[in-house]
């Protein structure tokens, strides 16, 4: 079974600063997908960024980037120039599809990020 670990229950960052959220996972699979989702206090879960395991290049979406280290099974999220609207719960998610099967999804327990003005 796949597991996803987010070891930082809560974090805070000053506005305009940079923060990194950590995520590690455990799997014996080689082909899978990793995601970071954001859940603001209004609760709608929004996709922040995705990474395909077969891609060596780290994904980047504007102020959001990841540090994907496949051998170390690590998938951290870096938020640059933090904004007040980045205040939210952040969830790391692991998805894989076994051959002939259906997608299997595992979420971490989340990291609560507070951006301080």
């Amino acid at each position: 079974a796949q597991t996803v670990t987010q070891s930082q229950p809560e974090m805070s960052v000053q506005e305009a600063e940079t923060v990194t959220l950590s995520c590690t996972y455990d799997t014996s699979e080689s082909n899978y997908y990793l995601f970071w989702y954001k859940q603001p206090p209004s609760r709608q879960m929004i996709l922040v960024i995705r990474q395909e395991a077969y891609k060596q290049q780290n994904a980047t979406e504007n102020r959001f980037s990841v540090n994907f280290q496949k051998a170390a099974k690590s998938f951290s999220l870096k938020i640059s120039d933090s904004q007040l609207g980045d205040t939210a719960m952040y969830f790391c998610a692991f998805i894989w599809v076994p051959s002939g099967g259906y997608q299997k999804v595992t979420f971490g327990i989340g990291t609560k990020l507070q951006v301080i003005p």
């Binding site: 997908y33 609760r43 709608q44 879960m45 929004i46 996709l47 599809v97 259906y102 997608q103 989340g110």
Partner: protein, 114 residues
């Protein structure tokens, strides 16, 4: 594009009652997954529907059941409600052949069991 919609927004039930939650997937999506999110926790996978059949199921009892309709919308039914069923129930839709199996989430239904 309306995105994923869920109804109702909030629901209050008493122990032993039954509840039905509804989800309409994002336009173009054919797969619906349901999750239970307890307070302060990450989403826990309940089950997934594709082509009107339950394709896989998480570690939830048979009190949790579902249905998918020909228009891809879905229902989650919970029978014999327990206090521990109080949670945010999230619906996520995706395309079976979509990009990287990305899931789009609805706003959720907050269920309170008294």
């Amino acid at each position: 594009d309306a995105g994923v919609t869920q109804s109702p927004t909030h629901l209050i039930k008493t122990r032993g009652q039954q509840v039905t939650l509804r989800c309409s997937p994002k336009s173009g999506h054919d797969t619906v997954s349901w999750y239970q999110q307890a307070l302060g926790q990450g989403p826990q996978f309940i089950f997934q529907y594709y082509e009107e059949e339950e394709r896989q199921r998480g570690n939830f009892p048979d009190r949790f059941s579902g249905h998918q309709f020909p228009n891809y919308s879905s229902e989650l039914n919970v029978n014999a409600l327990l206090l521990g069923d109080s949670a945010l129930y999230l619906c996520a839709s995706s395309s079976w052949r979509g990009l990287a199996h990305e899931q789009f989430f609805g706003p959720g239904t907050r269920l309170t069991v008294l």
